[in-house]
């Protein structure tokens, strides 16, 4: 015991450790405060919070769980990208390989079930924020940011659904993206699309409408796979990360978590 303490002590007093953590062990009030404010990761937190905020009954921890799932999806997603090529030739085969060959064979499972869990947890988070009326002044805008995050969570899930390139994924995306051809004015089956015609020639056709823009083709095909891959792995995560940052920043700026006055 004494020996272990000695080792810890020598690590803690080493130049290396002190260069990273510039405070004594968080055992007294001053150093506990320093542990939060002098740490890059932890400094999104305030130094102290009201006790009701950490009661499970108040937040159900659903926002935090959603954020954790986002991080987990990022990590498992990056690992999956090492094994996956978004082409007709490889996409499905890479799925088979991920199932049968790759070690740590639960990567795909973690990512998929994590995604489902994130959709559920973000709904529950919104549900709780509503039930505690936490969107009221001055948190209106953070609720708006939240709705954007909700939309992005769903879009992340939706774009990822296509990537395995099996019957389930391709047809689910076909059904979902069929909606895009019914967009008013710019979908070729949408109301009012005839208005956009020049000299009797329709401008909005199956090859130029909103669905085409989404799919990169008239039907869900390799172009779509590429588009969804980039949306799923790069574009939406980046935007989502930005808005999560904004969301957390706003919690602090709005005076911390809500509570009875």
């Amino acid at each position: 015991m004494a020996f272990g303490k000695k080792i810890i002590e020598s690590i803690r007093s080493s130049q290396l450790w002190k260069s990273v953590f510039r405070h004594a062990p968080p055992l007294d009030r001053r150093n506990r405060i320093l542990a939060v404010v002098s740490n890059f990761v932890l400094h999104i937190h305030p130094v102290s919070v009201k006790k009701h905020v950490i009661r499970p009954g108040f937040t159900w921890y659903m926002g935090a769980i959603t954020f954790y799932l986002f991080l987990l999806e990022t990590v498992t997603g990056v690992l999956l990208m090492f094994y996956y090529r978004p082409t007709l030739q490889w996409a499905y085969n890479d799925m088979l390989a991920l199932r049968d060959v790759v070690s740590l064979g639960v990567l795909r499972e973690l990512h998929r079930w994590g995604a489902h869990a994130m959709v559920i947890s973000v709904w529950l988070h919104m549900y709780r924020v509503f039930l505690t009326g936490s969107y009221k002044k001055p948190r209106e805008f953070n609720w708006v940011v939240g709705v954007l995050l909700l939309v992005m969570t769903l879009l992340l899930s939706f774009t990822g659904y296509l990537l395995p390139w099996d019957q389930l994924s391709m047809w689910a995306i076909t059904v979902g993206s069929n909606m895009a051809r019914a967009v008013p004015f710019v979908g070729y089956e949408g109301p009012g699309q005839q208005i956009l015609s020049v000299g009797g020639i329709d401008m909005i056709t199956g090859g130029s409408d909103s669905r085409f823009a989404l799919l990169g083709a008239r039907v869900v095909g390799e172009e779509t796979l590429n588009r969804f891959y980039i949306l799923h792995c790069v574009a939406i995560p980046l935007v989502c990360a930005f808005f999560i940052g904004l969301h957390f920043w706003r919690i602090r700026k709005d005076g911390g978590m809500s509570g009875p006055k």
Binding site: S134, D166, A180, G187
Partner: protein, 438 residues
């Protein structure tokens, strides 16, 4: 897949056995809880339930799991359809809301949870039910149903408690925890523990259930039914009642915009930062109706009850790909002119000019247009002078208009459902000339 039920129950023995073991263990936890709190009556009750589930577990392992009689299943299936299911849920939610101070009592809620778990276990002996529920992508939806139930209970219980306190002039219970605590260690350790638990849950889930991988994508073989990802099945279900441009584009956009507008429309300053229902009844009811009835319920219908050709199937019904439901849909204009007035529906004459054409179309759709006019214009004005007068006064014209429009659009869904079920009306206004139907 017509499996022999007896054989199927034997196949499910292991799963159901462990299922009942877990449920029994949860009830043993309840017994322990009651002992700790010296509630001896309830201790006895939950002890009896524990024994009951233990016996169920033993029977299940033995291949004799409790199952519903085929005749009962047929009756249940005959009873549930889109109408009874939707109306039934509505009545259920209303009863829950009105009787909330009773239903949130821990013993009552626990009994309800036990009943739901028993229903799941019993239903899992049915091959059709089990096939739908255990599809890997459907498992999270089952979990979501239970989570929603649990969290709704939790939130409502605190709201009921707070409403009682507020009525006595005391502050809400959140106020009891007003002291400040340092983030290190109280919050960071919670976060650490939470991450570990979340990771373990996901790992177990991932080890237990493999991610689905079907046949390679094949553009020429269309699965029947083709379903969107589960979180969009509410939208797909709305396609039964609306055209794609409404169900798939306009209503989703309105949902997003409407959600974003909530903080700017809800002018009630009370109920900020604590659970309460009484202080914000209107907002609460609107949100719960939209979320639970119009979003979650439609997802459940789309996931569990829609089968081949998007036909509605009972919980235990064989998913027969040849099932057809005679659709005798009729447009409101046809109903009005042919059935109501016994005349022929006005037709646009070939080669008619723009004005004549437009006038004929308007005349043809006069019933639906009148309805929409009354609904979207006259009704809001009327409400602003009567029922919602104080809203109108406090919100001003713009905000009132936006709120009432969002509300009325939301209510269009149940209205179109009822119109379809009762009169077979498909479209209130149908303008095929412009690809627009409503």
């Amino acid at each position: 897949m017509h499996l022999d039920p007896q054989e199927f129950v034997a196949d499910m023995a292991g799963f159901l056995g462990w299922y009942y073991v877990v449920v029994a263990a949860c009830n043993a936890g309840a017994v322990w809880y009651c002992i700790a709190r010296r509630r001896f009556f309830w201790m006895l009750v939950w002890a009896a339930v524990t024994v009951g589930f233990a016996v169920a577990a033993y029977q299940a392992f033995d291949g004799r799991a409790i199952a519903l009689d085929e005749a009962v299943k047929t009756q249940i299936d005959a009873f549930i359809g889109p109408v009874s299911f939707t109306v039934g849920t509505f009545v259920f939610l209303v009863v829950m809301y009105l009787g909330r101070s009773f239903f949130v009592l821990p013993a009552v809620a626990w009994a309800g949870l036990n009943a739901a778990l028993l229903f799941m276990g019993v239903s899992m002996t049915d091959p059709e039910f089990a096939a739908v529920v255990t599809k890997p992508d459907n498992v999270p939806i089952v979990a979501m149903v239970f989570l929603l139930g649990i969290f709704t209970w939790w939130g409502t219980a605190q709201a009921v408690e707070n409403d009682r306190r507020l009525a006595q002039g005391r502050p809400p219970l959140e106020k009891d925890y007003d002291q400040k605590v340092l983030v290190w260690p109280d919050v960071v350790y919670l976060e650490l523990i939470g991450m570990i638990i979340a990771t373990v849950v996901l790992l177990v889930w991932s080890l237990a259930i493999q991610a689905p991988l079907e046949e390679p994508a094949n553009p020429v073989v269309t699965p029947n039914p083709s379903k969107a990802p589960w979180y969009f099945l509410g939208l797909q279900e709305m396609l039964v009642y609306f055209d794609a441009s409404i169900a798939g584009v306009i209503l989703p956009v309105l949902m997003i915009v409407g959600l974003m507008a909530v903080p700017y429309l809800d002018f009630n300053e009370k109920g900020d930062g604590y659970y309460t229902i009484k202080q914000r009844r209107f907002a609460y009811i609107v949100f719960q109706f939209g979320f639970l009835q119009l979003w979650i319920l439609l997802i459940l219908i789309g996931t569990f009850m829609r089968g081949p050709n998007w036909c509605f199937f009972g919980l235990y019904e064989f998913r027969d790909p040849h099932k057809i439901v005679a659709a005798s849909n009729i447009k409101l204009s046809e109903l009005f002119w042919s059935v109501g007035l016994g005349q022929s529906v006005p037709q646009v004459a070939a080669g008619a000019g723009f004005i004549v054409r437009t006038a004929t179309i308007i005349w043809r759709e006069i019933a639906g247009l009148t309805f929409l006019g009354v609904y979207f214009v006259a009704l809001p004005v009327l409400l602003s002078r009567t029922l919602l007068r104080s809203f109108y006064r406090q919100m001003g014209v713009t905000r009132y208009t936006i709120m009432i429009f969002m509300l009325l659009m939301m209510l269009m869904l149940p209205i179109k459902m009822v119109l379809r079920w009762t009169l077979n009306v498909s479209y209130i206004v149908s303008l095929p000339e412009y690809f627009a139907n409503f």
